[in-house]
């Protein structure tokens, strides 16, 4: 189990324990529901992380080590690699106006709840347009590479395009 999953599962255990204690002390349902939800949310996220690690082929830790980690006693970590260069950190996405446009759409949509349906429709339209533009930009960058997507339209003579390796390095990579 990773440290990340351990963090989430600890929060989850706390939520469930405190929720149960709270219920038997108070019989007050709303706080109990909130606390149990606090237990359930990170619990699900933690289990997903564990499942994902297994799906990636990680054999996982021995049970005793996992329990030690859950108790906050992780094993001694090895040092990182030497001479990691900036290229190893991955590529950055291009500047884009679509997040601003989508946010404006959300703001107009919400404000429409006060001022009327016409504003809701306007906000929804703007949000839909921005979402389309956003996804198209992401798709273009993923298919043709960051620089080509920015500078020129892909040539029809260039033929089918294989997706470049979206994870060129061991380190993480920005996605969307």
């Amino acid at each position: 189990m990773t440290d990340e999953a351990g963090v989430l599962l600890r929060v989850s255990i706390f939520g469930f324990v405190i929720g149960i204690v709270y219920w038997f002390l108070t019989y007050e349902w709303l706080g109990t529901v909130c606390l149990l939800t606090l237990g359930a949310g990170p619990g699900v996220a933690g289990l997903i992380l564990i499942q994902e690690q297994r799906a990636r082929g990680g054999a996982g830790e021995p049970r005793a080590e996992a329990l030690r980690r859950l108790a906050g006693i992780p094993p001694q970590d090895p040092p990182g690699p030497k001479d990691l260069a900036a290229e190893d950190l991955g590529v950055l996405p291009l500047p884009t106006i679509w997040p601003l446009a989508a946010s404006l759409g959300v703001a107009v949509l919400f404000t429409g709840l006060i001022y009327g349906l016409w504003l809701v429709i306007l906000g929804l339209g703007l949000l839909a347009y921005a979402t389309w533009g956003w996804l198209a930009a992401v798709n273009r960058e993923n298919r043709y590479g960051r620089i080509q997507a920015d500078t020129e339209a892909p040539s029809p003579q260039s033929g089918p395009v294989s997706d470049p390796d979206p994870h060129p390095s061991a380190a993480g990579q920005p996605e969307s």
Partner: protein
């Protein structure tokens, strides 16, 4: 499969010039620029909220109504609290986290850069919606930042201003959740090899726990605002007792968000203090792991204490909430102990950032200890809704937050800009702020214990007048201290002394890269051995011999 030759993933600066000026900021997905946008927006909101605070103090300087009517007064203190708590305090630390977390974990950016930009724009537009309530008929909300139902329902408070308040904050809430998903994913998934969880800087830990709190607490806020909006506009009856609703429901859900909100605000500040004190004490942080577990202890307990804000309702189980509230003092005490342990026998440099950190410990201790008294129901019943409570939470939320924030600004300004803030002006800022802040709020403890209620525009009890006048003078002195900081900022950003990459001898990875960092953050990353990678690197034999890749890029 037929393929074409594709350009290799390349460094942004090598092949691509991003547009400059305002277009650059409108379209940016760079976490550093977004962080700066967050910080500047939050600081602008802080200035407006601060002006409203001065208006409140002006009104209370002497008995009688001087400046405004009672409804206007209600609007002023409501918007002061709203701007400061929702739109400034929780956001300025998100801005610092945005800028610093990827640098501290050795990442090129956050996990979802475009969604990160959207978080900021949602925050900005939500804030503008709240501000727009100043300009509608009837003016802005006047039901305090807590907006308790049924007072805030259409039965008792009509007007579009209240609806804009709800909608604006709901949009900001969505921004917060989106930002939290992003930063948590970044910390979980984007750390460079060797940067294990228990080698992360304490500021990154603070941001991680803070964003987890946002993730679990903000949905409660969104829910309660949705219920309130439905009740005000669509005839729902969640909080109306005459129709079977429960007024207490609002308080339960609101405070399930509201108390963690205190720690949402303060945990990154703990992180800042935990970064500054070791650097200016020339020692490693005392009790690194204890500090991490204290973060989690505080965060976990913060979800179990919400109803200590509701003692006076008579509808909550007092012993449970009193015990849980008192328990928070334990992990908080661990933190203060460890900060003192770090300074103990250290080679302390009293830079402005360090002075601000010491000021933080002082005011946070006063705020924390007075809070322990409030966790005791008999005392809470006696001082509930008095200026004692106002003074207590301002010692935490204003003192704690602002001292920590300014410590962070003075500490990281060289990294943001490549220039140092003036230490001379910084120390003037610190002393004015220390005196002004304590004069403002300490006297509020006294009038609060004497029974002066909060949220009143007028009082006719003469013995409260002198304390209120002193408090007002202190507030204006605090305002002057902020002007000194702004002056320092404006002068230093143009003519400040060049800082170099690591002016303080810092511990965490951001001090390895240039000031300001390149768009991809690093030219080269050192091997990680401990929670002080920059310190290790700058004291390595290769660095001393000048053969390291950072100083000799050709060899990297």
């Amino acid at each position: 499969m037929a393929t074409t030759e594709l350009p290799l993933p390349a460094l942004p600066e090598a092949h691509h010039e991003e547009p400059g000026g305002i277009v650059d900021y409108l379209t940016t997905v760079d976490h550093k620029k977004i962080g700066i946008l967050y910080i500047l927006t939050a600081f602008a909101i802080f200035l407006v909220g601060g002006l409203l605070a001065l208006v409140v103090r002006w009104e209370l300087a002497s008995p009688g109504l001087q400046a405004m009517g009672e409804n206007t007064y209600n609007q002023v203190f409501t918007m002061h609290g709203t701007l400061m708590i929702f739109l400034f305090a929780a956001q300025v630390t998100t801005g610092l986290g945005n800028y610093l977390v990827p640098l501290q974990i050795g990442a090129a950016d956050v996990a979802f850069p475009r969604a990160n930009a959207m978080s900021y724009w949602l925050y900005l537009f939500g804030s503008l919606i709240v501000f727009s309530s100043f300009f509608v008929a009837g003016g802005p909300a006047a039901v305090a930042w807590t907006a308790y139902a049924p007072l805030s329902t259409d039965q008792y408070f009509q007007g579009t201003g209240m609806d804009l308040w709800i909608i604006g904050l709901a949009v900001v809430g969505v921004a917060g959740i989106l930002g939290a998903v992003n930063l948590v994913t970044t910390i979980f998934r984007m750390r460079m090899p060797g940067m294990t969880m228990f080698r992360m800087p304490l500021f990154t830990w603070g941001v991680l726990v803070n964003q987890l709190l946002i993730l679990f607490a903000f949905p409660a806020l969104t829910v309660v605002f949705a219920l309130l909006f439905l009740e005000r506009n669509f005839g729902a009856q969640f909080f109306n007792p005459e129709a079977g609703g429960q007024p207490i429901l609002f308080q339960h859900i609101f405070w399930f968000f509201g108390h963690p909100e205190v720690y949402i605000i303060i945990l990154p500040i703990f992180g800042i203090i935990s970064e500054v004190i070791p650097v200016f004490s020339r020692k490693p942080l005392f009790g690194y792991r204890a500090m991490v577990f204290a973060f989690f202890g505080i965060a976990a307990l913060s979800f179990g204490v919400w109803a200590h804000h509701m003692f006076a309702t008579g509808l909550v189980y007092l012993p449970y909430f009193a015990i849980m509230s008192l328990l928070i003092a334990v992990p908080t005490g661990i933190k203060v102990f460890n900060w003192i342990g770090t300074m103990w026998r250290g080679a302390i440099t009293l830079s402005t950032a360090m002075l601000m950190s010491l000021g933080f410990i002082l005011v946070f201790l006063i705020g924390g200890i007075t809070g322990i008294f409030l966790a005791s129901p008999p005392i809470d019943f006696a001082v509930n809704d008095t200026y004692y409570v106002v003074a207590h939470f301002h010692y935490i939320m204003v003192g704690g937050l602002l001292y920590g924030m300014f410590a962070g600004f003075y500490f990281w300004f060289p990294k943001f800009t490549g220039r140092l803030l003036s230490e001379r002006l910084g120390k003037l800022h610190f002393w004015l702020f220390l005196v002004g802040f304590n004069i403002t709020f300490f006297f509020q403890f006294l009038v609060g214990l004497d029974g002066m209620p909060r949220r009143i525009a007028d009082y006719q009890i003469e013995r409260w007048a002198s304390a209120n006048l002193i408090s007002t003078v202190g507030a204006f002195l605090t305002g002057v201290s902020v002007l000194v900081f702004i002056w320092n900022f404006l002068v230093s950003i143009r003519r400040g002394q060049p800082a170099g990459d690591d002016p303080w001898g810092g511990n965490s990875l951001e001090w390895v890269t240039s000031s300001p960092p390149p768009s991809h953050n690093f030219h080269h990353l050192p091997e990680i051995h401990s929670e002080r990678p920059a310190f290790d690197y700058h004291h390595s034999p290769a660095f001393a011999a000048g053969t390291d890749p950072e100083r000799n890029p050709d060899r990297g």
